[in-house]
């Protein structure tokens, strides 16, 4: 059975467990990496971040940045859900999608390998997690 080791007490927990079964330490990756599917350029985040046209243009050099609004979405840590979450901003010209589906207003949980996009197919960013 695949497990993750709690960095607090060393307990081997099943991967499905979001918190350590012994000390309830959350199993949340420290770093979120977004990679432009079109340009392969990456950006790493360890803190909550707001993204929009400017970041897409300068960090990812993605020509699809023109389809994004100034503030398109934000990526935050949700301690209750023990997950990184992508949340849309209201009033965007084009909706933000995750794996081809529009985001929930409360945020959609990010999973390793998931794709964030503007509309269903523009400005695609692949999600990757790093432990350290």
């Amino acid at each position: 059975m695949a497990t993750w080791t709690c960095p607090q007490d060393g307990t081997e927990n099943p991967l499905a467990e979001k918190r350590c079964l012994v000390c309830r330490h959350p199993n949340m990756p420290r770093i979120v990496v977004l990679q432009s599917v079109a340009t392969r350029k990456e950006a790493e985040f360890t803190e909550p971040v707001k993204l929009g046209k400017a970041v897409f243009t300068h960090r990812f050099a993605d020509p699809d940045a023109r389809f994004a609004s100034d503030l398109q979405f934000e990526i935050v840590r949700d301690d209750e859900r023990v997950a990184w979450v992508v949340r849309p901003f209201a009033g965007c010209v084009n909706p933000t999608c995750y794996d081809g589906k529009p985001l929930e207003a409360s945020g959609t949980e990010l999973v390793d390998g998931g794709i964030i996009s503007v509309s269903k197919s523009k400005m695609k960013l692949k999600v990757r997690f790093k432990k350290n």
Partner: protein
């Protein structure tokens, strides 16, 4: 008689390195397996192969290993590597816990230098220990000999706790769904200072007994120290029965969402003399982690506690009624006695004087009399001038049994009067009677003295 193995001696493929401990039941060594791994090698003095519970004990070890390895408790317990018989003695081999310290050593370290193990580390140790015991109970095993010496902490700097925790010495642990092989042959092992009330009263320990001992250990790890720090073993049981432990005072602030007050309450309840009133290891774990913002009990615990509460309340009610009834009865009897005493006093007062009597004048001057006394002018002088009418020997007060009598002396110029009448012969006195001097013919009296009880 047990043969002690020498270093480098080979037993069934294991090479003895050195003796580690000798216990009541076994001698333990460090040894090397054929593949070179270091192992903990145990030679049993008890059970001997001659006792009837030897074979069941060996089977018990096999099942114990199976239960531990089959469940999540595996990662909290040391590994049973196997057992065998050699020279008519049972042997068992366990994983060797290198770079390890017992919880007892860690507690000593904390006592000497409290900052040597941080509060965060202690809290984590408590959570892992309780989670481990909870999993052991989940495998229907009672450890039954928990103590700080049987909790090992292996150094590991890669985790925040800095140690990995393993529970050891489980070969005399037993199952909640089966009788222990030694039941009826041997008692249940325990260590003074860490035994539960069940251990001390020769009852079969249960998971609640482990919880009691966990409470004793966690008081030392998280709070002010051992709740029953006695040198005299005789003191434990009365203190346990009286739930005499002080409320725990946590030495740090628990990591949210756990709450200090909830942890303190549940730790104190671990030491309840009634096993049914103790929390389960699961309750204890939930309190330590703050799961569900407090203690959420499973259905069985809720049922058990509710039953115990009903019994407790019924018992309390019965005692209250008994006390009330007893109180009323006592009141009634006291009232009866008081009334009887009063009646008797009254009766006595009416019928006869007390053992000592007092003659009191109208001015309040008194003369106590306890034995036969002849009253004359001299004795009566204290009552005033009227004493001059008395003869040198005027009357005699005398006692027979409980009764007092007055007797007039002969040839006195004035008569001795009792309640206005002439005293003739020996007359029995009653309280309230009035003794005086006078003339019977005129019925006049002077020096009136009232007879009272002293």
């Amino acid at each position: 008689m047990v043969r002690i193995y020498d270093p480098k001696e080979r037993i069934q493929g294991y090479t003895i390195e050195e003796m580690i401990t000798t216990g009541n039941n076994s001698v333990s060594y460090s040894a090397r397996a054929a593949a070179g791994d270091k192992v903990f090698f145990k030679l049993y003095q008890s059970p001997s192969i001659r006792v009837p519970w030897y074979k069941p004990f060996v089977q018990h070890q096999v099942e114990l290993k199976k239960r531990i390895e089959a469940g999540p408790c595996k990662q909290f317990c040391y590994k049973f590597l196997g057992g065998f018989e050699h020279e008519r003695k049972y042997h068992q081999v366990f994983e060797f816990l290198d770079k390890s310290h017992s919880l007892s050593q860690i507690l000593d370290k904390i006592r000497i230098r409290p900052t040597s193990v941080s509060w965060e580390q202690r809290e984590l140790m408590a959570k892992v220990l309780v989670a481990g015991i909870n999993q052991i109970h989940g495998a229907r095993i009672v450890h039954a000999d928990l103590k700080p010496e049987n909790v090992m902490l292996i150094e590991d700097t890669s985790i925040a706790m800095k140690y990995r925790l393993k529970i050891i010495d489980m070969d005399f642990s037993f199952f909640t769904d089966k009788k222990a092989p030694w039941d009826g042959h041997e008692g249940y092992f325990g260590t003074p200072g860490y035994m539960s009330p069940e251990h001390m009263t020769n009852k079969v320990p249960s998971p609640a007994s482990d919880v009691f001992t966990l409470g004793l250990m966690l008081y030392q790890l998280l709070a002010q120290g051992h709740p029953y720090p006695f040198d005299d073993v005789e003191k434990y049981l009365p203190a346990y029965k009286g739930h005499a432990a002080a409320q725990p005072k946590l030495l740090g602030v628990p990591k949210a969402p756990a709450q200090g007050s909830v942890i303190a309450d549940v730790l104190y309840r671990c030491l309840h003399p009634d096993p049914a009133m103790r929390p389960t290891a699961s309750d204890l774990h939930k309190a330590l982690t703050g799961d569900n913002a407090g203690i959420v009990e499973d259905a069985e615990t809720v049922r058990r506690r509710a039953e115990a509460e009903v019994v407790r309340k019924a018992e309390e009610e019965r005692k209250k009624k008994e006390d009330e009834a007893r109180g009323k009865e006592v009141e009634r009897i006291a009232e009866e006695i008081r009334r009887r005493d009063e009646d008797e006093k009254k009766k006595k007062a009416e019928e006869k004087p007390a053992t000592r009597i007092v003659l009191t004048s109208l001015d309040g001057v008194e003369q106590s009399v306890g034995a036969r006394v002849v009253f004359g002018r001299v004795v009566l002088a204290k009552f005033g001038e009227a004493a001059k009418y008395a003869a040198n020997e005027q009357f005699i007060l005398d006692r027979t049994g409980d009764d007092w009598f007055i007797e007039a002396c002969p040839n006195t110029p004035n008569d001795t009067m009792l309640n206005g009448d002439l005293v003739v012969g020996r007359v029995k006195l009653s309280l309230g009677d009035k003794v005086g001097l006078g003339k019977a013919a005129s019925k006049k009296t002077v020096l009136e003295l009232t007879v009272r009880a002293e």
